[in-house]
């Protein structure tokens, strides 16, 4: 029996159960986001929303009380506004945004940063000239999930300063949130780089490749099976 792949210290563990290969998950995510962006009608969007919710249940994500009714209601309400006008476009846009959010939540819950970095370091070990570029890319991917927390912290600070939720409607508040977030990001980048250098990382050497997940025939068939409903909806109801 093979040993489980090593993970970064403090990295979030994936949910239990069989997981797809990362390449297949990325292809599925890209394909479904593209299909969502291409779908301009309410009914296909409703079906995509149902698929996204089913996928969330299959991935054992907790159902969010506000997300489910919104995902169902937005395309339905948009269907009422015929012929297509500004309001329908607006509602469909919001529906698409929520669907993509749900897909990203599923991807985030079933994928760890370690998996993504493992995939990237495979490239770095083959082409050492790309190590700086890959460090930048892998760091961007690694810090993306924490950006939302940073924005939320800055918004909490702005709310505490002004004492009312109405303050979120003013441009000054958003300027303050942006300033806080950017200053926090730059200072955190400095601390993170110090920690990375202290742990012995050198840009000229690059990232050390770690054992990665093996691609199985099951991944290919499961990926095709999961892609099929999306393509069918697009092909039939476009």
């Amino acid at each position: 029996m093979s040993a489980p792949p090593p993970t970064l210290p403090g990295a979030r563990q994936p949910l239990p159960g069989p997981t797809l290969h990362l390449a297949i998950k990325l292809i599925l995510l890209l394909a479904y986001v593209t299909l969502l962006l291409l779908s301009r009608q309410p009914i296909p969007l409703l079906l995509y929303a149902a698929l996204a919710l089913l996928a969330g249940i299959a991935a054992r994500l907790p159902l969010r009380s506000w997300l489910v009714p919104l995902l169902a209601a937005l395309p339905l309400v948009a269907a009422l506004f015929e012929p297509a006008g500004f309001l329908q476009t607006l509602l469909l846009g919001a529906g698409r945004l929520l669907c993509v959010l749900q897909l990203l939540l599923i991807f985030g819950a079933t994928t760890t940063i370690t998996e993504v970095l493992n995939m990237l370091t495979l490239f770095a070990s083959r082409y050492t000239a790309l190590s700086e570029l890959l460090y930048l890319l892998s760091s961007t991917l690694a810090v993306l999930p924490s950006i939302r927390q940073d924005v939320r912290k800055s918004m909490d600070v702005a709310l505490l300063r002004k004492g009312s939720r109405k303050t979120l409607l003013s441009v000054g508040t958003w300027a303050s949130v942006l300033t806080d977030t950017l200053v926090r990001a730059i200072l955190r980048g400095q601390r993170l780089a110090d920690a990375v250098a202290d742990r012995g990382y050198r840009l000229s050497v690059g990232l050390t490749p770690l054992p990665s997940q093996r691609f199985r025939l099951f991944d290919l068939f499961a990926g095709l099976a999961l892609l099929l409903p999306g393509l069918l909806i697009f092909g039939v109801l476009r």
Partner: protein, 188 residues
């Protein structure tokens, strides 16, 4: 630049790029956010161009524009280029210590030129014909609102005003962030 300095610059750029990409991805789904992001995202690139080596800034801009173009599509990629060029112009002029009285009009000029260029290119692509023939076809409508010259003059004035307002917002926000960073000792 030492290896540690480069590592710091790369890590800071990664964090700033992550913020820029998460904002740009919102625009890919809900286009009207463009008006809000036009004074937010250039600030990120202005800060990069001010405090980091220009070679690394170029690499960072290429990565963000490439990701936006490949993943989020042609329209979002084109607007990302607009953000990147406006931001780097504002940041580079600040890096060269140009005073605000020159920096802001120059940034506004770049922004207005790119907006006008984007508008003309978009019109040409969407309508499938050159801007001249489009203007010729629309002549009867232009006459109703005071003629082509008046219309173009108003459009140019409006665009210049809009670009100037956004440039002032970008410059003010960049100044605020850089002074906060200087107070915390992160930028000298």
């Amino acid at each position: 630049m030492s290896e540690r300095g480069r590592l710091t610059a790369y890590t800071q750029m990664a964090l700033l790029n992550a913020i820029a990409l998460s904002l740009i991805s919102v625009q890919a789904i809900f286009s009207p956010t463009f008006l809000l992001l036009l004074w937010i995202i250039p600030v990120i690139f202005a800060i990069q161009a001010t405090i980091m080596p220009l070679r690394l800034v170029l690499l960072s801009c290429l990565i963000v524009a490439g990701i936006a173009l490949l993943i989020l599509g042609l329209d979002v990629g084109a607007t990302t280029l607009l953000y990147v060029l406006t931001g780097t112009t504002a940041g580079t002029l600040r890096r060269w210590k140009w005073p605000a009285a020159l920096r802001i009009p120059m940034t506004a000029l770049v922004l207005a030129a790119m907006l006008a260029g984007g508008f003309v290119a978009g019109l040409t692509l969407v309508l499938g014909q050159s801007i001249n023939s489009t203007l010729a076809e629309a002549q009867p409508y232009f006459q109703l609102i005071g003629g082509t010259r008046t219309l173009l003059l108003n459009l140019a004035l409006g665009l210049a005003g809009l670009a100037l307002i956004f440039s002032v917002a970008i410059d003010t926000l960049t100044s605020g962030i850089l002074s906060r960073l200087a107070l915390r000792g992160a930028v000298v």
